[in-house]
Amino acid sequence: MQCQQCKQREATTHIQRVVNGQAEEFHLCAACARESGLINEFAAPPFFNLSDLFSGFLGSSLRQAPAALAPAQRCGFCGSTLHEITQSGRVGCAACYNTFREVLEPTLARIHGALEHAGKTPAADPAVHARKQKEQALAALREQIAQAVQSEDYEEAARLRDEIRRLEGTQEEGGNDHAA
């Protein structure tokens, strides 16, 4: 099979990717694969040229982004702007993922097809454990609120809503502490 990029050499790198239900196939020779950054196995595959990917994906997310997240807004920790992240395809620091979460998440969902980590968690991080518990509590409260509304128990629903607001407030503080 011929390399679809240079149309000369034999394709030795074969990748098929499904994004939003649309399958795409890529057959590249080693030279074209290397040129496009595939040689670093951790890097994005060539067709996911990250700056293109991010410009494309982030571009559409940006149009729907809240005004507070202008492309010039800087991460409070490392100083990266959304524009820089889009251009380089590299995120500046861990805090960037929080700062630009609203804009990054739709893009991440498109890359990975999922937005919920399922693997290992750091062994010795009590903060993570506390956050996980909080999250589970919030999920339970949201379920209760839906039930209360359904049974027209608005008093209970209001109480639960205040409870959720209180919990969410503490989460916000916890989530930003290393960006400060």
């Binding site: 099979m1 050499r9 034999e10 394709a11 030795t12 790198t13 074969h14 990748i15 098929q16 990717r17 499904v18 196939e25 057959h27 020779c29 080693a30 030279a31 290397r34 595939l38 040689i39 670093n40 196995e41 951790f42 890097a43 994005a44 595959p45 996911f48 990250l50 920790f77 490392c78 990266s80 380089s88 395809g89 590299r90 995120v91 500046g92 620091c93 861990a94 993922y97 929080n98 990054l104 893009t107 991440l108 890359i111 990975h112 097809g113 999922a114 937005l115 919920e116 980590h117 399922a118 693997g119 290992k120 750091p122 062994a123 010795a124 991080d125 993570v128 956050r131 996980k132 999250e135």
Partner: protein, 341 residues
């Protein structure tokens, strides 16, 4: 056919090594309190290095003693040879500004500092050994994680500089020798079942007209929303399936006098040649390896696998004190003649 499923390799021998040369598992980790490497100052790099070095010392009981290698002081040819032996990435070997490497004596465990992420923890094992390689990398990660504040998000998992790696931030890969499937043009057709499992396959060496030496790398692509063990199971299942297909294709091929001729011809050239260029040698060794694994040639596949790495330019330059390409071609031919005689 000599490879019998019921005939398990002796304890300690690599599994499936007629087809699988080696297994590698890499975990990317970053420190929460520092910008990722691309935005990290020289001072920041030193601080990251100091923290990781201290953590490795504190974790020595769990992960064993690791050698600290300042990459700026390591001769370039040694660094490139490490990349040829798959101990570090090619990018890391050529990286500027240079960084540091933590390395276990047997080279099975290595930790690259400030490559694309603050830490790249790597385990490398011969043959098919996904569980063993993961266990090694995972244990090192857990031990270091007790002394380091990792960048981690409940939803996004381990945070990485490149968003395509976050989640488990694990890349597991196997190096496959697929001469028969490649000759039949069937590697491309495998890609469909490969992608369904969130995996990818590519030629491991060479920029020429084909995957040099018929060596391919199969690795997991998806890292978010999947557990490490699911990703490893998918990779294991597909590796076994591909290995079985390759074995069947080899058995058919070796019944064909033309194939048999290719194998013996390659063996003859390698046994007597006086000059061998690396790409050429790799191509011929691929045939010899196939003949060796098929019991056709009086050579062990393991010897051929060793030669496939030893013939690489920097590794050869070190072992045979051969600095320029012409001397290397001479030394390469000599080394292969010695190994095959």
């Amino acid at each position: 056919m000599p490879h019998d499923k019921t005939n398990q390799p002796p304890a300690g021998a690599p599994h499936e090594d007629d087809v699988v040369l080696s297994t590698r598992v890499r975990l990317a980790r970053n420190l929460r309190d520092f910008p990722f490497p691309a935005r990290l100052s020289a001072e920041g790099r030193q601080k990251v290095a100091a923290q990781v070095r201290a953590a490795a010392a504190a974790a020595e009981d769990a992960i064993g003693p690791l050698q600290w290698i300042d990459m700026a002081r390591l001769p370039r040819v040694k660094a490139i040879s490490m990349a040829e032996r798959r101990v570090i990435s090619a990018e890391f070997a050529c990286q500027s500004p240079q960084s540091a490497l933590l390395l276990r004596n047997d080279e099975a465990l290595s930790i690259m500092l400030c490559e694309e992420d603050h830490l790249r923890i790597q385990a490398l094992c011969p043959g098919l050994a996904l569980s063993a390689a993961f266990a090694l990398a995972d244990a090192a990660d857990t031990a270091l994680g007790k002394h380091l504040a990792y960048a981690f998000d409940d939803h996004l998992g381990y945070l990485t500089q490149c968003p395509t790696n976050l989640g488990t931030a694990m890349r597991a890969s196997v190096l496959l020798h697929l001469p028969a499937l490649a000759a039949l043009g069937r590697v491309a057709r495998l890609s469909e079942s490969i992608s369904k499992l969130g995996l990818t396959i590519r030629g491991a060496f060479g920029e020429g007209s084909d995957a040099e030496g018929a060596l391919f790398q199969l690795s997991n692509q998806v890292t978010l929303g999947i557990t490490e063990s699911q990703a490893l199971e998918n990779l294991q299942a597909l590796t076994l399936q591909i290995a079985e297909q390759e074995r069947r294709a080899r058995a058919d091929a070796l019944k064909d006098p033309q194939w048999e001729n290719k194998v013996w011809r390659a063996y003859g050239i390698l046994k007597y040649a006086r000059f061998l260029e690396s790409g050429d040698a790799l191509k011929l060794l691929s045939y010899v390896r196939m003949g060796a694994a098929g019991g056709l040639l009086p050579v062990s596949p393991a010897v051929v696998s060793t030669l496939m790495t030893a013939l690489q330019p920097a590794t050869l330059a070190l072992s045979r004190a051969a600095d320029d390409p012409a001397t290397r071609d001479l030394a390469r031919a000599e080394m292969i003649r010695e190994a095959l005689s």
